[in-house]
């Protein structure tokens, strides 16, 4: 039984890893873009990004999962029954009527990417804003362009500063993946619950903790290593 459970949990953990990997892959760069938006000198962009980040950070990720999973289907149903005779909007409604309920895993990806981009963007912003103005000015008087200053002078200092908060957030991400349970994505806890339902076993549920712990242990080691690697300079 132990091996059956282990195999099944491992299978669930693959989905956990998929969500984890996909989220990092997209949200790390997207978060940077959002952070630029939230620091933009153009007020409307700054405003829109800040409102967006506020909404995403101010509501539960679980709720966001529900919205992304159910709303496209609802829109599709509404569009199918809508009676609109305005030419352009007609086409739009026709297109919307092809919307169906989302693939569960895709919905999970999208919700996690949006949610974590917002959290990451705030970490980036904090890191970028903490770099002293003198660093930019030193680059400027040496005739560097804005992008040279960002990539050659500022970026590594920002990375050094954001590794600790980033590692916190990424470890939270590992644990947050359990939320996809609520839209029936078969992750590790979902698979454990099946044993509870069919065989009346509780221990597989507790056993899932080992998987999270092992993975987060690895991540902790990795982040510790990165922090150490960047100890050669102080800023």
């Amino acid at each position: 039984m132990f091996w059956t459970v282990t195999l099944s949990l491992l299978e669930g953990f693959v989905n956990t890893l998929k969500i984890f990997g996909m989220t990092l892959l997209v949200a790390l760069p997207l978060g940077l873009v959002l952070s630029f938006g939230s620091m933009s000198r153009f007020a409307p962009i700054r405003f829109i990004v800040k409102i967006f980040v506020w909404i995403i950070r101010g509501t539960p990720l679980m709720l966001q999962l529900f919205v992304i999973y159910y709303v496209p289907g609802l829109v599709g149903i509404w569009a199918q029954s809508a009676q609109i005779d305005i030419p352009v909007i007609n086409l739009l409604v026709e297109w919307l009527s092809t919307w169906t309920i989302m693939d569960r895993l895709a919905a999970a990806f999208i919700a996690f990417i949006i949610n974590y981009s917002c959290y990451f963007s705030e970490i980036y912003r904090g890191g970028i804003e903490s770099i002293p103005r003198g660093q930019y000015e030193a680059g400027q008087v040496l005739g560097m362009t804005k992008s040279q200053i960002f990539f050659k002078v500022v970026l590594l200092q920002v990375i050094k500063r954001i590794v600790p908060p980033m590692s916190n957030e990424i470890i939270t991400l590992v644990k947050d993946t359990a939320l996809v349970n609520t839209i029936s994505v078969y992750e590790v806890i979902w698979n454990a619950q099946r044993f509870t339902k069919t065989d009346g076993l509780l221990w597989p549920l507790f056993y899932t903790g080992v998987f999270y712990l092992a993975f987060n242990g690895l991540l902790t080691l990795l982040f510790g290593y990165i922090e150490k690697k960047m100890n050669y300079f102080r800023s």
């Binding site: 000015e137 030193a138 008087v141 005739g143 560097m144 804005k146 050669y232 102080r234 800023s235």
Partner: protein
Amino acid sequence: MAFLEVKNIKKSFGKTEVIRDISFSLEKGEVLAIIGSSGSGKTTLLRCLNFLETANGGEIIVDGETIFDAERAKKYTDAEKRKARLRFGLIFQQFNLFPQYTALKNVMLAQELLKTGTKQEIEAKSRDLLDMVGLSDRLNNYPCQLSGGQQQRVAIARALALSPDILCFDEPTSALDPELTGEVLKAIKALKNSDRTMIIVTHEMNFAKHVADKIIYMADGIIEEMGTPEEIFENPKSEKTAAFLQSSKENDGV
């Protein structure tokens, strides 16, 4: 026409006029020291010369070329500004070295980005500059491994790397422990001997007296008095200048 002509520079932040109307000129190889109590606008003036602030009025002419004219200030492109500011080098009070790079790389970086030569040429020049400021044994140290005086000397080498026509110093020793100021002042003196044109904002009156060809005493955003070290220190015409020199002497005594 002098090598550097600064004409009627004005700068306000909001409603506060920080630089009210400043004009002076400097010949090639001359050293100008700017003294004055804190808040009189010395830093702002240097920042205007280096395009870190955009002056609201006035002109800056180097070697016959108008590199800044407030009338056209809005039209300057980033590239034009970058080219113009290479006429000047600036050494900051807080050094502002790049912490993630070694001393050598700090000096090399801007040259590499501007492609001023081959990799070997750039490295050789950077080594020479660090040698000149007495740091040939510190090439591979990171800023955090250097004392304040050493960091400031790296900053001097870094500013020289792009061969600016005029080197500006903003209180280069103010952030240093007293026992470390000597080495930095010595490095600046050595530059004078190699005929560098320099503008030095400083509180070190003795240093100003000995290194400068010309002294400007600034008060409330204007030049209160300008002259040779003898004129200013031995024979100040303005009462304000005399009072300032007197009080700085007393502070030195403490």
